[in-house]
Amino acid sequence: MIPMVVGAVPFGIIFGALAVSAGLSPGMAMAMSLLVFGGASQFVAIGLVTQGVGVLLIILTTFVLNVRHALYAASLAPYVKRLPQRWLLPVGFLLTDEAYAVTIARYRASDTSACKHWYYLGAATFMYVSWQLSTLLGVLAGNQLKQMGEWGLEFAMVATFMGIAVPMLVTPGMLLCGMVSGAVALIFYDLPHQLGLILATCSGIVAGVWAGYCYPVPVKKEEHL
């Protein structure tokens, strides 16, 4: 979990700084982090605000970007279905790339602990609090940190996500899934509104299912993070 937060903190800071320099009031920048809590969509939104794109189109873009959250939720659903209703609200609200990645690994671990949802809540809350604090830091530092993006701190996200994905490539299906998804994402990068990302994800899944069907793996091996 700690590496996730290390990876996310620079983004929170940069987001806060960018939001303020894009003309959002400090309060609005904080409100976005507190209520939306979605790193990628917040960045895209600020970029679009800077370009003068209309509110409705930005909300629509956010929706497109969030299709992956629905996929995460669908993948987590079987594990949390026994939880009482009051649990599902925070689980849903706090669902991010990072929280999903650490939690799905925990849920798939072979032990049958009944407290895995506490693990999720702890990890996700930690993530939420760090996101707020780092946004605040960026808002306070304001324009002085504008060039932070140019230092290349965005590479922290690449390193974090690859650090999660690569150890999962242990079956032919996973391997082909990653290769196809990466190649399609690269080729269709220029499509508007992150359509390339969605296209890549779908082709990766199809390729993975196909390879898994052709080369079934007798014992499913899951990795711990």
């Binding site: 009031s25 976005m32 959250h69 609200f93 998804s181 990466g182 990766g204």
Partner: protein
């Protein structure tokens, strides 16, 4: 800028709607096995789709030069992640190589 409030609330709404209802509905009616099988590929598919373009086309432009910090850092990240399978180590080595390349060729 009262528009900003609409923007923030609208974004919050669509984000929440993509997370919570899916969780509740699918928790009540479990998915058939083929779909569950497909869902296990979601994380790898999404994460590589986000990362690969950032390594080969940082900022949108192709950058296929041995001096590219993104390429060198990406390669180091993949190697360390595949061999050691430890996230913190991966992050440290990947970032170090990235900044070293940046410092060597672009400072």
């Amino acid at each position: 800028m009262s528009d900003v409030w609409i923007l923030v609330l609208g974004m919050a709404l669509v984000t929440f709607l993509s997370r919570y209802p899916v969780l509740v509905i699918l928790g009540r009616m479990p998915l058939p096995a083929p779909i569950l099988n497909a869902l296990q590929y979601v994380p790898v598919a999404v994460l590589t789709a986000i990362c690969v373009p950032m390594i080969f086309r940082p900022g949108g432009e192709w950058f296929l030069d041995p001096t590219s910090p993104y390429l060198a850092g990406g390669l180091a990240t993949v190697l360390v992640a595949g061999y050691y399978r430890q996230l913190l180590l991966t992050l440290l080595v990947g970032m170090s190589v990235f900044f070293l390349w940046k410092w060597l060729w672009y400072v």
